[in-house]
């Protein structure tokens, strides 16, 4: 089943569509506020984004992932196709494993980032922030591979937080606790197949659940029944945004401008400039952007994406970043007060050679008190690790809480 029909010209009567979880979401959406995520209605916050954030760090939260752009890649050449598409070595992502990836244009500039799920031997799902079918089909020419966008054929939920494994166990998914980080398993569920991957966008223990849209409602119901005694909460996009910044995960369109959408060519970024050099494998003889990235590696990058630990408690959203002599060297792309790390944190883009771990910087913060604007030049330091990275994220089997 498709989640909605765009084959009819009448689609214009609705500018946005309900997700397959909509009825359940609407019943819980006490704020009665909806946002748009491409084709779907999405919930910014059901009740209170702070409480939903803490569910993700303390119990578990459920987020509707259905609007995420999804593709299915199958056929004898699926692996070689993917290996030329992305910068990392996909031969290492075995069946039942998931690989975070970036893909570039010929200039070595990042088109998008996303996750590749090796569902079965030679059968992959690629999830991306932006629409990618044009680029994927350009790349598929000459390969014996089938590439389709199936966003509307798959319903998906993220279940994130320390009690998430306990909830799945309660749902009687056999050996779900044996899934290691970036692993996945398929389960028989209510007469269909449920795929569970140990992945997420929160930097904590968590899973993502994939099912056909016809079974979306029953999945939601079973999940919430199982989670009742484990503090399960629906989670909106505002809470997820806080969770991903704490985890140090970047977001296309926010922390970098995707190359296919960028008019001013200097505003695109390479994987190195996004701190994703570890995803570039030059041992592969051919992949998109290889030549440009080799040159960049030899000659140096223009920018660095850094994690900043900023003094004081005033969130540094949209702030300029300066070196210690007061020269403007960059800007903040995402910022928040981290309730879990108890730090004032930010992701920022700075010009190289700035951006070394431990480097001191200044951040120009504008903040408001009872409508009056204030400005603070706050001290900041570049840190290497994610602001939130608990051991439970990696423990297998995970604890119940």
């Amino acid at each position: 089943m498709k989640t909605f029909n765009i084959d009819s010209r009448e689609h214009y009567r609705n500018k946005v569509f309900p997700s397959p979880f909509h009825e359940r979401q609407a019943a819980l959406n006490e704020n009665r506020e909806w946002s748009r995520w491409y084709d779907y209605l999405s919930v910014p916050a059901y009740t209170c984004s702070t409480m939903e954030y803490f569910a993700g760090r303390n119990t578990c939260g459920v987020f509707d992932l259905t609007p995420m752009t999804k593709h299915r890649i199958t056929g004898p050449d699926a692996l070689t196709f993917l290996n030329r598409l992305v910068t990392r070595d996909m031969t290492k992502v075995k069946p039942g494993r998931v690989g975070y990836s970036v893909w570039c244009d010929d200039r070595g500039q990042v088109i998008d980032d996303g996750t590749v799920f090796h569902l079965h031997e030679g059968d992959y799902r690629l999830c991306s922030q932006e629409h990618q079918i044009d680029w994927l089909l350009i790349n598929a020419r000459g390969f014996d591979v089938s590439v389709v966008e199936d966003t509307h054929d798959v319903a998906a939920l993220a279940l994130q937080g320390p009690t998430s494994c306990a909830v799945l166990k309660k749902m009687n998914l056999p050996e779900v606790e044996s899934i290691t980080p970036f692993g996945l398993k398929h389960f028989d569920f209510e007469g269909t197949q449920l795929t569970v991957s140990r992945t997420g966008y929160t930097g904590d223990l968590g899973y993502e659940l994939w099912i056909d849209p016809d079974h979306a409602g029953v999945l939601w119901d079973r999940l919430f029944e199982a989670g009742e005694l484990h503090g399960i909460q629906p989670m909106g996009s505002e809470a997820l945004e806080l969770l991903r910044i704490e985890a140090g995960f970047i977001l296309a369109g926010e922390d970098f401008a995707p190359a296919m959408h960028t008019v001013r060519h200097r505003n695109t970024r390479s994987p190195f400039e996004l701190g994703l050099g570890w995803l570039v494998d030059f041992d592969k003889p051919v992949f998109n952007g290889r030549r440009a990235l080799l040159r960049e590696k030899a000659e140096g990058s223009r920018y660095a994406l850094v994690k900043l630990d900023i003094e004081d408690n005033k969130p540094a959203e949209h702030a300029y970043v300066y070196d210690t002599r007061g020269r403007n060297i960059g800007w903040v792309t995402s910022a928040m007060w981290s309730p879990s790390a108890k730090k004032n944190i930010a992701l920022a883009t700075v010009e190289t050679p700035h951006g070394e771990t431990g480097e001191k910087m200044k951040v120009e913060i504008y903040y408001q008190r009872e409508l009056k604007w204030h400005r603070k030049m706050a001290d900041a330091v570049v840190v290497r690790d994610a602001f939130w990275d608990p051991p439970r994220r990696r423990a297998t089997p995970p604890a119940d809480f």
Partner: protein
């Protein structure tokens, strides 16, 4: 007789803009116009009962916002209101729509081709890269590449720097854009014939080239580089019709002490001892000034309104060779009610949109074949709007004004002049075409104004009926527009200036040639500059 500081010939949008900037600098300016009314091709006229037509140009996007602001056109009554979307209807009763809502537009593309829906991002990015490059030269005078004057060298350097700043990929693309056909260019992005056809129109409007002719990719850019309130590529209606633009410009001109004479055209631009001395009008009156600015087309100015003995033969030969070929016509229709397009099934949003009746690139190319044969297209390209659905001033409530731009329409019918019978035949072709898509349409018609290149030349003064005052091809752009060596708005005779769309940066209701020419004149006369520079788009 009183001597003016300057005489501007032709009260179209460029002429009035030029006159207004000169008047704002304190000059005593006389504006002369052959018609009883002002506006040129940006005009609103009442020809039937309570209907107002935008008789020639019909939508607004290219009008430079810097000029809008500098002439304070809002204060003089101009309002530009964006309209929503576009739709391309097919013969089999389907359509491809573009909506004001980005997601709905994407889904509409997906309905025809999911891949093309995504490719649209790449397409729009590449178009916008080129538009940003071109836009910054709109309110600048093109340099003379053969001159060694510091100013020309600086300007050449500026172009070079900006070109280099485009980045490797876009530099290559730029050369391709100026030389490719729109059909070839679209093939690099899209697979679906209807999606390609829907983008093709912008590549040929106003041009006597086919969708498969080299150079038409640039014409698409020319239509995409405008904006409404910073919304790039958007188009809008001037409230009250396109005449509202020239009326507001004229309000500014008059407010700064300008004088306007209508109802008698210029018979000849007077030259004494190698210097212009004024103009002689058709009614026998003479008016004098040391500066004469022509907003007429290049051929009309030099081949019709000047004594050839005052000009060099080589220059005259280049004026004769200037490519200014008529390719379009227009029907302005008063409707007693709302037409019903079968394909739209009551979609009100698309009734307000820009409507086209075309299926494929090939069908468009065949329409051009008829032009080459010296006749109007039997299956023409139509760009059609119902402004009265957006603008309540255009028609009585419940009744409608429909603007129908038609291409291709040749300046001559197989080498001979148009006759009234030809004009009626052309009208029936177009009305029949619309009737095919909207049965019962002809029964709604209360009045039709038909404009072939003959009417456009005789009434508006557009040579051969070319709406851009000259083809927008590489050989006639930037420092080659209108002809090499004369791209700085300066005519071949002392005191003679050119401010029409024959000059850089070309046609469309942009007002940039008029403004740029005023800046040059003021600099030449050491007057304070009143003409704005272009806003930075960094």
């Amino acid at each position: 007789m009183k001597k003016h500081d300057a005489i501007v010939i032709g009260a179209g949008h460029n002429g009035i803009t030029n006159a207004a900037f000169l008047a704002k600098a304190g000059m005593d300016v006389l504006l002369v116009e052959k018609n009883e009314w002002i506006g040129g091709a940006a005009v609103s006229r009442n020809l039937h009962e309570d209907w107002i037509y935008s008789n020639c140009s019909y939508v607004c996007s290219l009008l430079r916002p810097e000029i809008y602001r500098a002439l304070d056109l809002a204060r003089y009554g101009l309002q530009v209101v964006p309209y929503g979307g576009s739709v391309t209807m097919t013969e089999d009763g389907d359509y491809l729509a573009s909506y004001t809502d980005e997601d709905a537009s994407r889904r509409e593309l997906m309905r025809h081709s999911p891949r093309d829906a995504d490719a649209t991002h790449r397409f729009e990015r590449d178009i916008m890269r080129q538009c940003r490059f071109i836009r910054q030269f709109l309110l600048r005078t093109a340099p003379d590449p053969t001159s060694f004057k510091p100013r020309d060298l600086m300007e050449l350097l500026h172009i070079g720097r900006e070109f280099w700043a485009l980045g490797e990929e876009t530099i290559y693309d730029t050369m391709r854009f100026y030389t490719m056909s729109i059909a070839e260019f679209l093939d690099e992005y899209f697979e679906h014939p209807l999606i390609k056809a829907s983008h093709c129109g912008s590549g040929i409007i106003g041009s006597a080239m086919g969708v498969m002719s080299p150079g038409t990719a640039y014409v698409l850019l020319h239509h995409a580089m405008g904006d409404v309130d910073g919304s790039a590529g958007a188009w809008g209606f001037a409230r009250g019709g396109m005449g509202a633009i020239t009326q507001a410009m004229h309000g500014c001109f008059a407010d700064h002490g300008g004088t306007t004479l209508t109802g008698s055209g210029v018979a000849q631009i007077l030259v004494k001892n190698g210097q212009v001395s004024g103009v002689a009008l058709d009614n026998g009156d003479e008016h004098h000034a040391d500066i004469v600015v022509s907003n007429m087309t290049l051929p009309r100015t030099f081949l019709e309104c000047m004594d050839p003995r005052d000009l060099r033969p080589e220059f005259l030969e280049k004026c004769r060779n200037f490519k200014i070929r008529g390719s379009s016509g227009k029907l302005n229709i008063a409707l007693e009610g709302m037409p019903k397009f079968t394909a739209l099934k009551g979609n009100r949003e698309l009734m307000k949109a820009d409507m086209h009746l075309i299926d494929s690139v090939e069908r468009l190319e065949r329409a051009y074949d008829d032009w080459k044969d010296g006749t109007w297209s039997r299956d023409p390209y139509i760009d059609m709007l119902i402004p009265s659905l957006t603008d309540p001033t255009m028609a009585p409530p419940g009744k409608h004004f429909m603007s129908v731009f038609v291409q291709y329409v040749p300046p001559k019918i197989r080498g001979r002049d148009w006759t009234d019978a030809d004009r009626d035949g052309f009208r029936d072709t177009v009305l029949g075409q619309i009737e095919d898509y909207a049965p019962g349409f002809r029964d709604l018609i209360a009045h039709v104004e038909v404009r072939t290149p003959r009417e456009l030349e005789n009434e508006v003064g557009l040579t051969e009926g070319n709406i851009f005052q000259g083809e927008l091809t590489m050989d006639q752009l930037l420092f080659n527009r209108p002809i090499p060596g004369y791209a700085q708005y300066r005519g071949p005779v002392k005191g003679l200036w050119m401010c029409g769309s024959s000059n850089h940066p070309g046609g469309g209701v942009m007002a940039a040639p008029g403004a740029n020419a005023a800046r040059e004149i003021l600099a030449d006369r050491r007057k304070p500059n009143t003409v704005p520079e272009g806003w930075l788009d960094d």
